[in-house]
């Protein structure tokens, strides 16, 4: 099924969604602030950031930086009570963002995540201007739309909306139907054609990159699929109340693989850097059949020393 929405009616469409739901969309609140997904109110609609990919990925709503899992008082456990939240409707997810959610669904198995995911309606938006760091076309983009509820294609002054689920259909039931072939292909300048790096683990080319690496973990915090976390307990100063939180962490930090007694299993920058690249391109593919990287290029854009591991893979492959 396909529906049509004229572009100048987007504001009223989003406002109508806000009545019964919480709407999340990409915004840039002020100049100098990073563009990110945020819960929006009516007055924020003018700040919508739809021209480009957001700098900060959507993942914070599914796996927040700090999430309380359990609370305790005087040695007794109190289950987290999730108030009956309104449904979350996320507008403006690019194909790479959707791809990332698909991947997170494969990694996160806990009830908290699953509940949150069930409470979320995904509205995708076709990407018209990928930049120099994007290489999403190389990362299994076909058919990604299927995992969202509605997908918005932009054409002239209209959005053509493909409907994929019942929940999505309910949101657009008042819009007129349309029938238009939307054949679109995202074109990337950057490509990662050959991803066979399994036998290149000992290649010296990685050292050139890891020598520049500061182990700052910016790549993993901006990556839409990086989910590594700590489980951490906080004890209140009264020594009676406590909470167990899930805290985002990163494989780029030395402490991440440390065990009791002080042994660190990924001790060098090289091994941590390669762990990131290989997890994205090789390990996850081996165990689940798909790449963990979605080619959004956020890690490349955000790296303070401009490490371009995609180019490194390409040069390794060209050299052969």
């Amino acid at each position: 099924m396909q529906k049509i929405l004229s572009k100048n009616k987007l504001t009223s469409f989003l406002e109508s969604l806000m009545k019964n739901n919480q709407v999340i969309a990409p915004v840039r609140e002020a100049d100098g602030k990073a563009s990110c997904f945020n819960i929006i109110a009516k007055q924020d609609i003018k700040n919508l950031y739809l021209d480009k990919l957001t700098e900060v990925p959507f993942k914070q709503f599914l796996i927040p930086e700090n999430e309380i899992l359990l609370k305790s008082t005087k040695g007794k456990l109190i289950e987290r009570s999730d108030s009956k939240n309104k449904k979350n409707i996320v507008f403006g997810l690019r194909k790479c963002d959707l791809n990332a959610i698909k991947i997170l669904d494969k990694i996160m198995h806990d009830s908290y995540y699953i509940k949150k995911r069930k409470n979320t309606i995904l509205l995708g938006l076709y990407c018209t201007n990928p930049d120099d760091s994007c290489f999403c076309n190389s990362m299994e983009l076909e058919g990604v739309e299927n995992c969202c509820d509605l997908f918005f294609y932009e054409s002239n002054n209209n959005y053509y909306i493909s409907v994929f689920t019942k929940a999505g259909e309910n949101l657009v039931k008042n819009l007129p139907e349309a029938k238009r072939e939307v054949l679109l292909n995202i074109k990337n300048k950057k490509q990662l054609p050959n991803k066979e790096i399994e036998n290149e683990y000992q290649n010296n080319a990685w050292e050139k990159d890891s020598n520049k690496c500061l182990s700052c973990a910016a790549c993993t915090s901006y990556c839409p699929t990086c989910n590594c976390f700590d489980l951490k307990d906080n004890l209140d100063i009264n020594l009676k109340d406590g909470e167990r939180i899930r805290k985002q962490s990163s494989c780029q930090l030395k402490s991440f693989s440390r065990v009791a007694g002080g042994k660190v299993f990924r001790d060098s920058r090289l091994s941590r850097f390669k762990h990131f690249v290989y997890h994205k391109i090789s390990y996850f593919k081996k165990s689940t059949g798909r790449y963990m990287c979605v080619g959004c290029g956020r890690c490349l854009r955000v790296c303070p020393t401009k490490i371009d591991w995609v180019e490194t893979i390409n040069s390794i492959k060209r050299g052969k």
Binding site: S72, W206, F229, L235, R244, C251, A260, S268, H275
Partner: protein, 261 residues
């Protein structure tokens, strides 16, 4: 899956050495040998601990006082409550081990996961062949689970190697062992398991007959947090017991890149 642990009352805390105690709780869970639990104290955190028994009524866990959480666990007393979730992971491959001669080699607190398997063997004695056990400890003061070792001595061939007699792989090297129908089960510091594996290789036991019970920081225990990844495998979900020929290339890769600083 959930992170919610269940509280259990501690039935006993038996002290073996200065920094090691055996924590026993009454719980109707019967973990498979080699599996592990996440034990925690609210407000302090969780830590992965190997199950050291094969018993329908109890969970036994060896606690060594090395960190924040284990330090708190160590100070618990009979009657206190401890929060536990699990069991997690694949234990020892019982089907593969059936009918074989077993060689157990463990060092220090590495005795913990191996213990659950030895208990299993002692309960199902007729399913297994000859059993040889080698435990390495620093000195007399560091010997763990002596009460169980004395019990096993009646059924199996148990050797205790103290460092003054030579490391456990050196002791093994001098022995004349018939390993033609054997499987080896190893647990301890990686450097020890590596040396023992080399000795066993020399004696004709191939890597596909050797199982390592590995240590990593298993935080979520359900294959999400990424902490315990050894390259592409999760120690919590795919392990913690690995056949050595499977895990060897992965360990070698990591070790090689750790050499470059």
């Amino acid at each position: 899956m959930t992170y919610k642990p269940t509280p259990y009352k501690i039935e006993s805390m038996k002290q073996y050495t200065e920094d090691v105690k055996l924590l026993r709780v009454n719980a109707g869970i019967n973990p498979m040998p080699g599996q592990f639990f996440e034990a925690s104290i609210l407000g302090f955190g969780e830590c992965p601990l190997a199950s050291c028994s094969h018993d329908k009524k109890h969970i036994d866990m060896l606690v060594r006082n090395v960190g924040n959480v284990t330090g708190e666990l160590f100070n618990l007393k009979k009657g206190d409550s401890v929060f536990i979730r699990g069991p997690y992971g694949h234990g020892f491959p019982l089907q593969e081990l059936q009918g074989k001669d077993l060689l157990f080699v463990a060092g220090g607190t590495g005795i913990a996961p191996v213990t659950s398997m030895i208990e299993y063997v002692s309960q199902n004695r007729k399913d297994f062949g000859k059993v040889e056990i080698y435990f390495g400890f620093r000195n007399e003061k560091y010997i763990l689970l002596m009460d169980r070792i004395s019990k096993w001595k009646k059924m199996f061939n148990v050797s205790i190697c103290l460092d003054k007699h030579g490391y456990v792989h050196e002791v093994l090297g001098k022995k004349d062992l018939d390993l033609s129908n054997s499987m080896a089960i190893l647990c301890g510091p990686e450097i020890m398991m590596k040396s023992v594996t080399e000795v066993l290789n020399k004696k004709g036991l191939n890597n596909d007959k050797i199982f390592w019970s590995m240590e990593r920081r298993m935080e979520c225990a359900m294959g999400s947090c990424g902490r315990c990844l050894i390259q592409d495998v999760y120690t919590c979900k795919d392990g913690p017991v690995f056949r050595y020929d499977f895990i060897k290339p992965r360990l070698e890769n990591e070790e090689a890149s750790n050499r470059v600083k």
